[in-house]
Symmetry: C2
Subunit: 258 residues, 2 copies
């Protein structure tokens, strides 16, 4: 069972974002709008081809009329650079946790749980990193989480179509179920003694929990964690999307490197 997300906007823009979305998930695209008189580069050509193959409507128009849809984001009107293409889309579909958990996999799986990451740039950047690192899913809470807005879709560069997003009423409940199923729980915690490179990420299913900046991971979840790790820093803690990249790629390094 998949449920549609409550999306702030039904438009996405930018060559990479539209290309990733249409090539990965053409059914999400309702209509493509190209800028009038645009010169088609390779990426725009491919978008047009895939649209035609999938009988998706194409319209040539002045894209400035879409400014208003991106007004409520963080970007100022005048800085929106559509790169010649806008698409109206159906919301991203959330993945079902039970289905994900019970799916047979011949590899160990790795996911990230976001505990209160509300900034859309950070959320989008995290999604992009997880797609790059072939992570298997990201879990977010129903409340205290960034909605999947145009900013998130754009910042993720379309990666949002590559990685299952699981939304839950209760992160502690999800963590309990993972633990019962022999997943290991790793929580980022600035107070931890262990560095993120002191633990092993090999030969196990694991979930990394990252908290909001300032507050960090909630106590309830910290108490459930098998490992707590910190990133050594001589300044403030890292930005959450930078922290995610550092920890996630340490797991990739360990798994890749002999």
């Amino acid at each position: 069972m998949k449920k549609p997300s409550e999306s702030i906007t039904n438009y996405i823009y930018g060559k990479n974002t539209v290309f990733e979305t249409i090539s990965q998930n053409p059914k999400r695209i309702n209509k493509i709008f190209f800028s009038q008189g645009i010169n088609f580069d390779n990426k725009l050509k491919k978008i047009k081809e895939i649209a035609q193959e999938n009988s998706i409507l194409i319209q040539f128009t002045n894209l400035n009329k879409f400014n208003k849809y991106f007004e409520s984001g963080e970007k100022k009107l005048t800085t929106v650079n559509f790169q010649g293409v806008v698409a109206s889309v159906s919301p991203v579909e959330y993945a079902d946790f039970e289905t994900f958990l019970n799916k047979k996999s011949d590899k160990y799986r790795k996911i990230v749980i976001l505990d209160g990451v509300e900034d859309p740039h950070n959320f989008g950047a995290i999604i992009r990193t997880l797609a790059a690192a072939s992570y298997d899913a990201v879990v977010i809470p129903k409340h205290r989480s960034s909605p999947i807005s145009a900013v998130v879709e754009k910042t993720s560069c379309g990666a949002i179509n590559h990685i299952p997003i699981i939304k839950t009423n209760s992160l502690p409940a999800i963590v309990d179920i993972l633990k019962k199923n022999d997943w290991w729980i790793i929580a980022a915690d600035g107070q931890s003694k262990d560095n993120y490179f002191d633990i092993s990420y090999k030969d196990m299913n694991f979930a990394i929990i990252l908290g909001a900046e300032g507050e960090g991971v909630s106590k309830t979840l910290l108490n459930k964690a098998d490992f707590k790790i910190k990133i050594p820093s001589s300044f403030e803690s890292l930005n959450v999307s930078a922290a995610c990249a550092v920890i996630v790629y340490e797991s990739i390094r360990q798994i890749h490197q002999i």
Copy 2:
């Protein structure tokens, strides 16, 4: 010899940014503006104390009047959250390359060279990561680089006051001088065979060159590099600030871990 940077704005805002700036570099602060009727938490109290110790003018006012100074940034007017404090500041001073190079150091030094990173969020995030990782400097070109705007200062969380920023007319010239002085040059290059964790960062002075998204590091600089490294990815390349965090912290891991 230090030269003032050409700053877009002379205002900074936010508790952490103002606190880091005033505690690290009080001479940069001309005046502090607190929101009228604000409740002073610990951080705001400390800002006030340091201001008084340094005889910096303090004014209580309606901060909304500062909205206009942040209009030209990426943030929409209505989303500016001053967290109760704004400060008028002198521009960040750039560090001199020759002075940096000739400074005696009993440790090996490590720097990052940014080849065309124009996005202020990425630039600020990179500065924050480098401060966290105790890197020794960042080098940027005079052209094709983000100016040190309010967005950069805010995204860096005030880290901009912790790390020397060197601005140059010619990155290739800087790289040549570094090489003559026995520094090793490492360039990020998606086409490389080596992964970022395949090389050693220990027991040497080194510079990591990162390029703009899409374009990457320029050919001239790639040809001068001793090592070329990539971050393995099954999606697009990482965002440049995420890539910076991954590579920089791999060097920290190698140096920390026995």
